[in-house]
Structure formats: structure tokens, C-alpha cells
Symmetry: C2
Subunit: 198 residues, 2 copies
């Protein structure tokens, strides 16, 4: 069985997105690319970490990461990533609202899971085979998987900014401790790797 | 004029101490050395960072870092550090309650400052001469100096633990951004250096 990994970009004060995320402001107020500039402006310098983010065999994300729609599904929202999302594999979206699976270009499929995080992990593991399952976010989804000790490798991409408000990683998760598994600083980010203590 | 520096050990979820600090639990509940084990168990491995912590010409700390007493001074509390504290220089303690200076062994003096953080910084700068002024903590004191952009070098010593509660670094400080100035991981901690953008 593959590892369960998690890559998340976070501010020094622990936020993965600003408040009031919306269709106009996918990352919420006050973020303006400040958490992810390393992904855009310095792709080569961060190539190994970027490759690792989408190397998993299957992916899990929360409904709020998939899109700005809350409550029942309306319209034909297909994610933030255009017709050919960067996952190129099965993506399981946690939601309370059932929806038919969406097949995208390039091998990405969005499957909507309404029976909770354990069921989603089981399905992602089955889909991934020997590959890893990546918990993509957002904060609430990661925190739920941290609480049940499901994440084997946590890769924090720490941006040198303070946001002051937003969606907080690790909220409601502690106490917990990890093994350190590496740190690498590039121009706009520090990559911090942690392993679960088993 | 020397730099204003700040060294602070912090958990992954941003806490520098647990809740309910007291004479019996100086670091608060749930900490048990988990933020500072690198200082105790791996002194050699972290020698350069440890030396830097007390290399300043003068120091500033909050009253809650100096001791567990709240309100008016009572008894003869002289800090947590015994007769010969590790500062070996002038330490300015922010407090609302006036008290005569305390001269300790080894050159440490505790001077109690009741007229605010700017006055304390002025006095510490004068005392440090060309040396650095170190903001020692706790979280509230550091956050106040971050708000007014007084800290030139912020050195975060990140422990691989989640505490879940306590005194939070960066609370009420943002938005702000820093220049990265180095990252080094040793067995029990990752040292992260940041410079103020001027």
C-alpha cells in the first residue's frame, strides 16, 4: 500500500488561505499569490517539490478546495483548473451533496464522496494501487486526516509571510509530534518535510 | 546601531508556550520541554544557534517571561534562571509595575520598564551600544515589536510538534512579509531565519 502524503502551502502564522474565499478570490482575501508565488515565479528552483505534489496515484480534496459553491450543486462547476487539471488521475472530493463523477481531459476524474473521510481514503487507496494518496487540502480536510493519524508524510511549504486571518492549518489537531524528514529553502519558500510517528 | 534580533522556539501550530503558565509549569500545560528539547539534548548540534541567542548586547522580555507573578510585585522573585542568568548583560523587563533594578551574578541586570515598548527599546539600544538588542519573548512582547516593524532578524526555531493551545506567535501582527535568510534542520528542530523588508 502506498503512503498517504500531504502537500500544503502555508503562511508563517499557519494559514493556507485567507478569509472569504469566493469565485473571484479563490484563495480568500489578502493572499494575492503570496503563498504560492514560488510555484509560479520559480518553477525550476522548486521543480522536485512541484513534481512530488502531483506524483500520487490518487487525490483527496475538500469540497471548498474544489470550488466556491456551498450547499447543493448548481450549474456545471468543474473545478478551478480548466479542462485539463494537473492531477491526471482519480480525485475524490469530500462533500455532503451527491453528484455524478466528472471525467476531465488528461486522465483526471472527480468523484464525489458523501460518506466521509474514511470512505474517501479507502476509495483513493484502491484507486491508487501501489501509488501514494495525496491529501490536497484545504485546511479542514487536512486537519481531519491529521486527527485520525492518516497522513504518513506531511510536506509543508512555508511562505515568508504573515496573513493575519484565514483558514488555519493544524486547528483542533494537537497535541501531536512528528519526525523531521528534511528542510530546503529556495528563494521564496522553505520546504519542510515531516513523517508521522508510527 | 546594532540590529534588533529575536529568537523564539515555536510549535508547528505557532505556539511558544502552552496555556496556564505558572510557577510549577513555566512553559504552560502540555509543553514538557517539547519546544526546547533541542537546546537541552542536542547542544552541540545546535551550538551556533544557541550562541546567537545570548550574543546580544542587551535584552528585552515581557513580564510574563520573567516570572509567574501577575499584578503588583510580591516576594523576591528574580527570574527563572537562578543566581547567574545566561544573559550576562542588561535585560529590560516590560511591566506595568515599577520595581528597583536587580543585579545578578555574571553581569546580568534586570531593569523594569513601565513606560512601554518604545522606551524599553531606546534604553536597550543605548545599553547595547554597537551590539544587538534581542527581543526574548514571550509571544505578546514579540508580537508588539513585530507590529511596529522593530525586529530586523527573526529567528524561528521550529519544533516538529503540534501543541493545540497556548500563547500564539504572530497573533494580531499581519499582514506582513519577510525576506528569507536561511534554514537549517538538526535532529529536533528547524532553524528558520527571516529579515525584515526595509
Amino acid at each position: 500500500m502506498g503512503l498517504v502524503t500531504c502537500d500544503i502551502a502555508v503562511s508563517l502564522d499557519g494559514f493556507v488561505a485567507g478569509p472569504h474565499q469566493s469565485a473571484e478570490l479563490p484563495m480568500g482575501e489578502g493572499v494575492d499569490g503570496r503563498l504560492h508565488s514560488w510555484m509560479v515565479e520559480q518553477r525550476e528552483e522548486n521543480a522536485s517539490e512541484l513534481e512530488a505534489i502531483t506524483a500520487a496515484g490518487a487525490f483527496i480534496m475538500g469540497r471548498n478546495m474544489f470550488g466556491p459553491i456551498r450547499g447543493a450543486w448548481e450549474g456545471s462547476w468543474k473545478g478551478w483548473w480548466g479542462p485539463n487539471p494537473p492531477y491526471h488521475g482519480p480525485v475524490f472530493v469530500l462533500t455532503h451533496h451527491a453528484r455524478e463523477p466528472l471525467a476531465m481531459d488528461g486522465g483526471t476524474t472527480f468523484t464525489f464522496v458523501t460518506d466521509g473521510i474514511d470512505a474517501a481514503l479507502d476509495r483513493a487507496r484502491a484507486a491508487a494501487g501501489t501509488g501514494a494518496v495525496s491529501i490536497c487540502g484545504g485546511a479542514q480536510t487536512i486537519n481531519q486526516y491529521l486527527v485520525v493519524d492518516a497522513i504518513d508524510e506531511l510536506r509543508v511549504h512555508l511562505a515568508p509571510v504573515i496573513l493575519g486571518a484565514g483558514e488555519r492549518l493544524f486547528d483542533g489537531v494537537g497535541p501531536k509530534s512528528f519526525e523531521q524528514a528534511g528542510a530546503r529553502q529556495t528563494g521564496l519558500v522553505t520546504h519542510l518535510n515531516y513523517r508521522a510517528r508510527r
